[in-house]
């Protein structure tokens, strides 16, 4: 009876207690049960906590960074760690810790925007291929095969070389290159949903293709896509760092973990200490996304479970 008490009185008067209980249970079965399962996987919670810290650092880096990340102190070139500068100075005398903190920004911006772009393109292409089948499927699938055949780094580098490196280029080029994996997964899932009763019913009441895909099909493949995209964010962060490491990503003086490693490589014989922190940050961030992805897979995607 307590349950009814939580509902609005008018509704309670209409519904019998048993139907209310059923609806309550049905409501809980989807996302909230997934959250319960997710919480049980402690490494994923650790990942979530770490990413929350990074998110705060990237939104207000100025509050946490002890110094200006672009301010160079010429007489302290490559000075080793000290109490006031826990990570030391880089090759032109900038505070390494402050650059690490500001570098969070680039990593997270590229990760989020490139993922959003890749998921959008991939899901739409994959859903269209799976839903329409026939020649649409053949054309789109060959397109996906083609993108997948390029060694990602080679394609990225070639595109950046022509367009010219910048933060915007980095995001667009990564997004435009990695969407094919989502398309493949989305296509497979849509193929199995296409003939299901709720799609046939939607078609029967006269819904058009666009509405069926966006309202009925895409929500039903959201689980696997969320899992895949979380697991792929790590790869995108590594791609961004790799591009900047080669000098083809974010340009100086912007603080970025990949470009910090690039200068570490150039000065590896004289200032080896500047190579350590950026790599640890990249690894921990990628690890956090991977752990969250593992947790989400256990929680949302029944096929991926051991």
């Amino acid at each position: 009876m307590n349950l009814i008490g939580r509902k609005k009185p008018t509704e309670a008067a209409v519904a019998t207690p048993s139907t209310l209980l059923a609806s309550e249970r049905a409501h809980r079965s989807g996302w909230s049960r997934g959250w319960t399962r997710f919480k049980r996987y402690r490494p994923a919670i650790a990942g979530l906590v770490f990413l929350s810290i990074l998110a705060i650092l990237s939104i207000i880096p100025g509050v946490f960074a002890p110094y200006d990340p672009t301010l160079a102190t010429p007489d302290l070139l490559g000075a080793p760690p000290s109490w006031s500068h826990p990570l030391g100075f880089d090759e032109i005398g900038r505070d390494e810790l402050s650059r690490i903190i500001y570098g969070t920004r680039v990593a997270l911006i590229v990760a989020l925007l490139a993922t959003a772009m890749a998921v959008t393109i991939g899901v739409l292409v994959g859903a269209a291929a799976g839903y329409f089948g026939g020649w649409v499927d053949s054309v789109l699938s060959r397109l996906v095969d083609t993108i997948m055949a390029f060694p990602t780094i080679a394609l990225l580098i070639a595109l950046v070389a022509v367009v010219g490196p910048s933060l915007k280029t980095t995001i667009i080029v990564i997004g435009a290159t990695v969407w094919a994996a989502y398309a493949r997964v989305a296509r497979g899932d849509v193929l199995s949903l296409r003939e299901r009763d709720f799609v046939v019913a939607a078609r029967a009441v006269g819904a058009n293709h666009m509405r069926i895909i966006v309202r009925h099909i895409v929500p039903n493949i959201a689980g696997p896509i969320i899992v895949l995209s979380t697991l792929a964010v790590g790869g995108i962060i590594i791609l961004e760092a790799a591009l900047s490491f080669l000098g083809l990503g974010v340009q100086p003086p912007t603080a970025d973990w990949g470009s910090m490693l690039a200068s570490a490589r150039a000065y590896i014989q004289t200032y080896p200490h500047i190579a350590i922190a950026p790599g640890i940050m990249i690894s921990l961030t990628v690890l956090a996304f991977n752990l969250i992805g593992d947790g989400l897979r256990d929680a949302l995607d029944p096929r991926g479970r051991d």
């Binding site: 055949a149 080679a154 367009v163 760092a241 790799a242 350590i276 950026p278 790599g279 990628v286 690890l287």
Partner: protein, 311 residues
């Protein structure tokens, strides 16, 4: 089987065609004048309009796009990748052939090392699920996919070359120079193959035929070697075939870090020097290699496992 082979060959052919269009398009369809891309901004300001026109004519850029494409494709098909803009007069083909053996050696050794360690490790972790070994190989595999290879490379240089002085930090003048790049390059593959080998082994262990074999009294060592390992190796072999693209991605960065004079370093240097003929040729050759490797994997797999070609 024949129908499957023909269908797969046809698909592969279409993909190679699309790759050629994309590679051609990277240089020609992007905003900006291809002549400027070829001779650079400084070149454009230094040359007279007539000279620029000559360059345009020399490269055939004054002809319609589709004519340019088919001319280019015809040359590519004959293995003629044009001339390097930087090393003037040297055919791109010669440049690529000079760099190929080093890359091949590096990647072959890395792949053999990765497979040689990952497959036994994965099988053992799968058989002894939840054991200490399983746990630590799982942690190792998770770290292996999370830590960027070029950072491992830097750490390896600092520790083994600069601090301990055991190995050279750059170059492959002696066999010692190969040790670090091969180790680093194999690391990520090792992580992924171990993970996969473990999960397919666990999956195979739960199959009915394994239970049947045990029920009829086959010795456990025979159950494992004849039924479990053989069946769980199959999907792993396919994935190794598909991972060629990732291996080649890795080699581009690792060769650059260790200054290995292979295709990867050639590619990155050509990008720095804006030598687009070489960039285009390398991207094309690498992707066609990937298509061929995938095709070969599919055909071998279909030959070994009849379930594939019947679907």
């Amino acid at each position: 089987m024949l129908r499957y082979v023909i269908r797969r060959l046809l698909q592969g052919f279409i993909v190679v065609f699309l790759i050629s269009v994309a590679t051609f398009g990277i240089l020609h369809l992007t905003p900006g004048d291809p002549v400027v891309i070829l001779i650079g901004e400084t070149g454009r300001t230094q040359l007279t309009p007539q000279q620029i026109q000559q360059v345009r004519h020399y490269w055939g850029l004054d002809r319609p796009l589709y004519v340019q494409y088919f001319t280019w494709l015809g040359h590519m098909a004959k293995g003629d990748f044009g001339e390097s803009v930087i090393q003037v007069g040297t055919p791109v083909r010669t440049i690529i052939w000079r760099a190929a053996p080093v890359t091949f050696k590096l990647n072959a050794m890395a792949l053999v090392l990765a497979i040689g360690i990952a497959i036994p490790a994965g099988i053992f972790a799968g058989i002894k699920q939840y054991s200490f070994f399983d746990y630590s190989s799982n942690v190792g595999a998770t770290l292996g996919v999370s830590v960027p290879s070029f950072w491992i490379a830097l750490m390896a240089i600092i520790i083994f070359a600069l601090k301990l002085g055991w190995l050279p930090p750059f170059g492959v003048d002696s066999w010692k120079g190969y040790i670090l790049p091969v180790l680093v390059l194999s690391f990520e593959q090792m992580a992924i193959i171990t993970r996969l080998m473990r999960s397919t082994t666990i999956e195979t262990l739960g199959q009915d035929y394994v239970r049947t074999a045990r029920a009829k009294g086959v010795a456990e060592s025979n159950v494992l070697s004849r039924h479990v390992v053989r069946n769980s190796l199959l999907p792993v072999i396919t994935v190794i075939g598909y991972r060629i693209a990732f291996l080649l991605s890795g080699t581009i960065i690792i060769e650059t870090v260790f200054a290995v004079p292979g295709i990867g370093q050639l590619f990155v240097n050509s990008v720095y020097h804006l030598d687009y003929q070489v960039v285009q040729a390398v991207v094309f050759v690498l992707s066609v290699l990937v298509v061929l490797a995938n095709l070969a994997t599919d055909l071998i797999y279909a030959y070994i496992d009849p379930r594939i070609r019947l679907t």
